[in-house]
Symmetry: C2
Subunit: 196 residues, 2 copies
């Protein structure tokens, strides 16, 4: 192939889920659909670079310094859902169940990778969680060792505060078949069993 396209190709190959081969397919597809796809994509990328910032309140990505969720008067300011990452916030929003505010930590505590509270937006969380209007802090970190550690750290730090501290339920996923579930999930679901 033309070496002139190599820099672009190697950038595309760096995107998650793409490799050298699929990057070539993407690049050819782009070059075949220049006006319909490639030009709008280049323009939208440039626009997003110029306009998208992290919300100064919750860490969500938006065009405004205070994101559309934090600015929405219809969201319940008494609820604060703590997530690791913006992708988790989006996943929560997809479920359309939660109507409170968020706090994006920017990762988990990790001794192994040398990430302490200072590498995350932990101070900002503790400050927000102590606001008088906050009734409940929902810990929605991932169900991984690091996620649990981080949730423990936060619930310790907020101990004795006004707000109730809760975490997402663990159990059998929707549509899950017992035979295919790992023992950890099944054990946790058993221990957390509810009256039928």
């Amino acid at each position: 192939m033309s070496s002139n396209l190599d820099p672009l190709l190697s950038l595309i190959a760096k995107l998650p889920g793409l490799g050298p081969r699929s990057a070539k397919r993407v690049l050819l597809h782009l070059l075949k659909h220049r006006e319909r796809l490639m030009r709008p994509l280049a323009e939208q990328l440039a626009t997003a670079l110029d306009t998208i910032v992290a919300c100064q309140e919750c860490g969500n990505l938006d065009t405004h310094a205070v994101c559309h969720l934090c600015a929405d008067p219809k969201r319940d300011r008494g609820l604060l859902c703590v997530v690791e990452d913006v992708s988790d916030l989006w996943a929560m929003e997809r479920s359309s169940v939660y109507k409170g505010l968020y706090h994006v930590l920017g990762g988990t505590l990790s001794a192994l990778e040398g990430r302490g509270p200072r590498e995350l937006s932990m101070d900002a969380l503790l400050t927000r969680a102590k606001r008088p209007e906050v009734r409940e802090v929902i810990l929605a970190t991932n169900a991984t060792v690091e996620g649990h550690t981080t949730a423990h750290y936060i619930s310790d730090a907020l101990l004795g505060g006004r707000a109730k501290i809760t975490r997402l339920a663990q159990g059998i996923p929707f549509g899950g078949e017992l035979d295919y579930l790992d023992e950890g999930t099944l054990g946790a679901a058993l221990q957390a069993r509810l009256p039928a």
Copy 2:
């Protein structure tokens, strides 16, 4: 998620191999690595849009009106390899075996999709193939029904000309195990058997 990112997200989701979910992952990855990945990508896309053109000789994509393969004095001008698409040209180049020139048809003949010779660069091929220096035209269309039809059409059209007309060998792929091959491939390999 922020509706401001929706246009970008839906463009990313249109790339081959990506769906709504993986597009979100790609978008977040880009927003996390703005300076290292997102900005260079936007710039390289814009540059490619401005500079990459189809080679007026063979149809390859390059920054020059005559591509670096057609312009290369070391390539054998007596060999003309006919491929359906630029991706096939790149695949041939990866094998590093072929040292002649190419001709990109831009697809296959297809009654079903209403693609006749005029929708492809067929006239240009027939003109090029009749040049006195061309000794051999190698038909390297895909081993599909449309690919075969297109190859037949070309070999008919070039019948009686000076150039030899050949096509890629069909048979067992490198590393192929008989048990896993389809009957068509196995049958063709048997019929095309060679002295050991």
